[in-house]
């Protein structure tokens, strides 16, 4: 059993809570009394945030789809397919034919390197996220 301080994954209030772990699974949420925004409280979504983490519908294998049919794939072949296809599209149509959608759900560090990849590796500024939605 352990409790780890995390940032709530839902709205922009930025509440923190302790995620309760048991045998490697998230099993509960404990509010943080000291946190300046949450002050020991949470909304109903925050209180149950542990429930989706170990949900059986989580995807646990890369998938590749040909035509209408999707199949499980290894990380290696998925990485290769994505990398090769991005390179060949860039070669044929230019970097303007590539676009990247980042996420208001991911960390600052992930957003930063995703935009770095778009800009430094592919030389495109076609990067955005759902800030407008």
């Amino acid at each position: 059993m352990s409790q780890t301080l995390v940032v709530c994954p839902f709205c922009g209030c930025g509440c923190n809570f302790y995620l309760d772990e048991k045998e490697g699974r998230a099993v509960g949420v404990i509010p943080s009394r000291g946190h300046p925004v949450s002050q020991g409280s949470l909304c109903v979504k925050g209180w149950r945030a542990h429930e989706f983490i170990n949900h059986p519908e989580r995807i646990t294998s890369p998938m590749i789809r040909y035509g209408g049919i999707a199949r499980d794939a290894t990380w290696g072949e998925s990485f290769d397919l994505v990398a090769n296809k991005l390179i060949s599209i860039k070669k044929e149509y230019g970097s303007g034919a590539l676009a990247f959608l980042s996420s208001a759900k991911l960390t600052n560090e992930e957003n930063y390197i995703f935009m770095k990849m778009a800009r430094a590796a592919f030389k495109t500024n076609n990067i955005d996220h759902c800030a407008r939605l």
Binding site: C13, G14, I59, L86, S103, K105, N111, I113, L133
Partner: protein, 527 residues
């Protein structure tokens, strides 16, 4: 937000416009309600619906959908007429005041009452309450921004705050509430087509030079890229061939959903990286399974600009990888190696190239509740409220705006206005919350909220199934009669992919911010 959430305690007036705060930002709403109940703060709510917060309001302005600029100009008109403006603040800290005066002069109470549907007495009361208090805050959310006049609405809020000197002090300011836990951070990090991290422009050669040096490249693209809505249009035209989507679900979240699916199906490559097989992932050529927030460490920036460390609570679920590792791997395989050992190393790099984040280091975050930017160096305590003594640009520029109507107004064929949003028990496209049993129990399905008078006219009752149709699509939805919604307006949510309301919404966009309007005209038929 120009203020911090803790400053809400000492605000005297809250002017909440276009934010259903109790549902979308519950912990901020409870601050407002506490201040009203315990400290006699005054609350003005401007919203066509009688949202929960309106029950605590001294005044509720039920202005017509999309009439925000007229309403705000009308308040400024009265403030100037009565001499309630902050003369010294205007003189010392602002510019372009004369053009603003000229524009708001034409927004007489009679004209504004006509456009907005708000009576003149209420307009006057709202002006007086907001202008005369010492510490007034404007609070807004997507009800202000998601309009073809979204930029005009935001500028009008800023005009009102500057006219009354209600910005740049503790508990006094303009506070847009951000809807996702890291939408502020994603913007701060430059996941936007025109800026690098810290809002540094991609068109500025000096800034490009800084990033070229840090990133070891020499030919960064100097033209702003496409926004999300423009990417979708470009994909439909065939100009975008590959789209890499990470942690987003545009098939459900974007307006005119059929158009979105059609465009995504045309791509040569659609990569979706997510924790669940979202509706967008179902269309992907390659799906990459990511670890959830609990399975990695990293920082998130909340709506008050507070950068906080989230720790790793459990190991990544078997078969998944943290997003940052996936990105490093793809980047390395296309010939641009990224060899970060951990997110801490990435944060170090962010500190180096992002002046507003320069002092927000891992070692400081580790032992604190976070730091609010701007935080230019390691000795800086962070910034609770913005624009103290002077605005970021120097003088605050008034930018007078004229009212324009929404893109699609009701007519004979489509006589109702459909507005969309969220409820407190679900979140966005439901990818996470629909996996949570208690939330599904409380809000299990999409409904169409409707006024009882409209229901009577249509001869429907609670639970009746109706066909809701717009120029873009139609859906069958059960009616829920609500007294908080005005006549001729209906409301539904975009949480339910099996009844995707965004098949009906409109992708008319604000010309500056490129934000879509969503709200549109619909017809409703009993089945």
């Amino acid at each position: 937000m120009t203020n911090s959430i803790q400053e809400f305690e000492d605000a005297e007036v809250f002017f909440v416009i276009g934010s259903n705060t109790t549902e979308q930002h519950p912990m901020i709403a409870s601050r407002i309600i506490q201040a009203v109940r315990q400290k006699a703060a005054k609350l003005i709510v401007a919203d066509p619906r009688e949202i929960k917060l309106a029950k605590f309001a001294a005044l509720h302005l039920r202005h017509k959908m999309g009439s925000d600029v007229a309403l705000l100009n009308g308040l400024m008109h009265i403030i100037l007429e009565e001499g309630w403006e902050a003369k010294e603040f205007i003189k010392d800290r602002t510019e372009n005041y004369e053009p603003l005066k000229a524009v708001v002069a034409t927004y007489t109470p009679d004209r504004v009452a006509e456009i907005t549907g708000v009576d003149k007495d209420s307009l006057r009361k709202a002006s007086e309450i907001y202008a005369k208090a010492k510490r007034s805050m404007i609070i807004y959310a997507m009800g202000i921004t998601q309009h073809v006049a979204g930029t005009d609405n935001v500028k009008s809020c800023a005009n009102l705050a500057m006219l009354t000197g209600h910005v740049g002090y503790p508990s006094t300011g303009v506070n847009p509430l951000r809807g996702q836990n890291n939408v502020q951070g994603a913007c701060d990090m430059g996941a936007l087509p025109n800026v690098y991290s810290g809002y540094q422009s991609v068109t500025d050669p000096k800034i490009r030079e800084v990033f070229e040096k840090e990133w070891g490249v020499n030919d960064l693209n100097d033209k702003a890229g496409l926004t999300l809505t423009e990417m979708i249009d470009a994909a439909e035209r065939g100009d975008i061939k590959a789209l890499y989507v990470m942690g987003e679900n545009p098939v459900v979240s974007d307006p005119d959903a059929r158009h979105v699916s059609r465009a995504l199906r045309k791509l040569d490559l659609l990569v979706v990286q997510d924790i669940f097989l979202t509706e967008t992932a179902r269309l992907a050529h390659v799906v990459l399974p990511a670890a959830s927030f609990a399975e990695k460490m990293g920082t998130f920036t909340n709506t008050e600009r507070r950068v906080q460390l989230s720790r790793q609570a459990i190991a990544p679920l078997g078969g998944t990888l943290p997003d940052w590792k996936i990105i490093c791997e793809i980047s390395s395989r296309v010939g641009y190696p990224m060899n970060y050992d951990s997110p801490i190393e990435i944060l170090d790099e962010i500190n180096r190239v992002t002046p507003s984040y320069a002092g927000i280091t891992y070692s400081r975050l580790k032992g604190s509740w976070g730091l609010s930017w701007p935080c230019p160096n390691e000795d800086h305590p962070g910034t609770l409220f913005l624009h103290k003594d002077q605005f970021a640009r120097g003088l605050g520029a008034f930018d007078a705006r004229e009212y324009i109507p929404p893109a699609e107004v009701p007519d004979e064929e489509y006589p109702f206005t459909l507005i969309t949003g969220r409820v407190g028990f679900q979140f966005h496209t439901g990818t996470m919350t629909r996996k949570i049993s208690i939330l599904e129990r409380e809000a299990p399905k999409a409904v169409l909220e409707m006024n009882s008078k409209d229901a009577r006219r249509l001869r429907v009752t609670d639970g009746s199934i109706v066909t809701v149709e717009s120029r873009r699509g139609e859906l069958h939805l059960p009616v829920q009669i609500k007294q908080d919604i005005p006549e001729s307006m209906v409301f539904s949510t975009f949480h339910y992919s099996e009844k995707n309301i965004n098949e009906l919404t409109i992708c008319a966009i604000d010309p500056v911010a490129k934000i879509p309007e969503f709200s549109c005209a619909v017809s409703i038929r009993r089945i």
